[in-house]
Amino acid sequence: MPRPLLAPAPDSMNPTDPQGDLLQPRASSGPAASVAELQMRYEQLQTIFIVAMIAFVIAGLSTCLFMAKQWRIVRAQVRDQRPTVQKMTYEYQRTSEKLIRDFTAELQKFAAQNRDFQPILERYRDPLRPYFLPSAPNPPSAFPTAAPPAQR
């Protein structure tokens, strides 16, 4: 069938690609159209950037609030527990520590004379390492924060 003379001729010579003409630059789009399109894309990008920044600010504020709350909780715990633990430590160093040291020293002396007690005592050498100091007359404080563990 002959083609009408006034019908627009296809841009592409490939008739199997019906959308091929869409990918081609439009003949009618001049520099003004390109600037307008760029302007539109720039504004879109700016909108996306602002939305992302708002999201960052919201996330940052939420995290700050959470962290501040956690910090306040931990600080309150430290403020509550510090006097109690300090008092306990003082009492421990004043009474229990001396008793434990004397008791282990006596048991060590006893184990030196009664070898069958030695295995029992050896089981507690690691848990009570600071108190198993080798026959020093006045060993330093055995509290772990104050003194390093004794060397064998």
């Binding site: 920044m53 960052f56 700050c64 527990q81 006596e106 007690f117 029992i120």
Partner: protein, 95 residues
């Protein structure tokens, strides 16, 4: 121009948030370290006490086989001294 000002404002807000977060994180870290130190002290004391208590219990068990350890246990009041049959001497002022 209005969008540029808003974007600058938002970037500034993000920066302020980041700085606040860093400050809070540092404070949180140091507070947490203090708390852990206190808890470690408390646990250490408890561990030593329970270890000594366990050692005393084993010593009491051992004393059933070898009473030679009894003086040590009496000295530290881990084991009660056996009751004597003799009556305690009367107090001078008692009627």
């Amino acid at each position: 121009m209005k969008s540029n000002a808003l974007a600058s404002l938002l970037v500034g807000a993000v920066l302020v948030c980041a700085l606040t977060m860093a400050w809070l994180s540092i404070n949180y870290f140091f507070s947490m370290r203090d708390l852990q130190k206190l808890q470690f002290q408390y646990l250490s004391m408890n561990n030593y006490r329970s270890a000594v208590q366990s050692l005393a219990n084993e010593a009491i068990e051992y004393s059933k086989r070898n009473p030679a350890i009894d003086p040590i246990l009496y000295q530290f009041e881990i084991k009660s001294r056996p009751a004597t049959n003799a009556a305690p001497p009367p107090r001078p002022g008692a009627r």
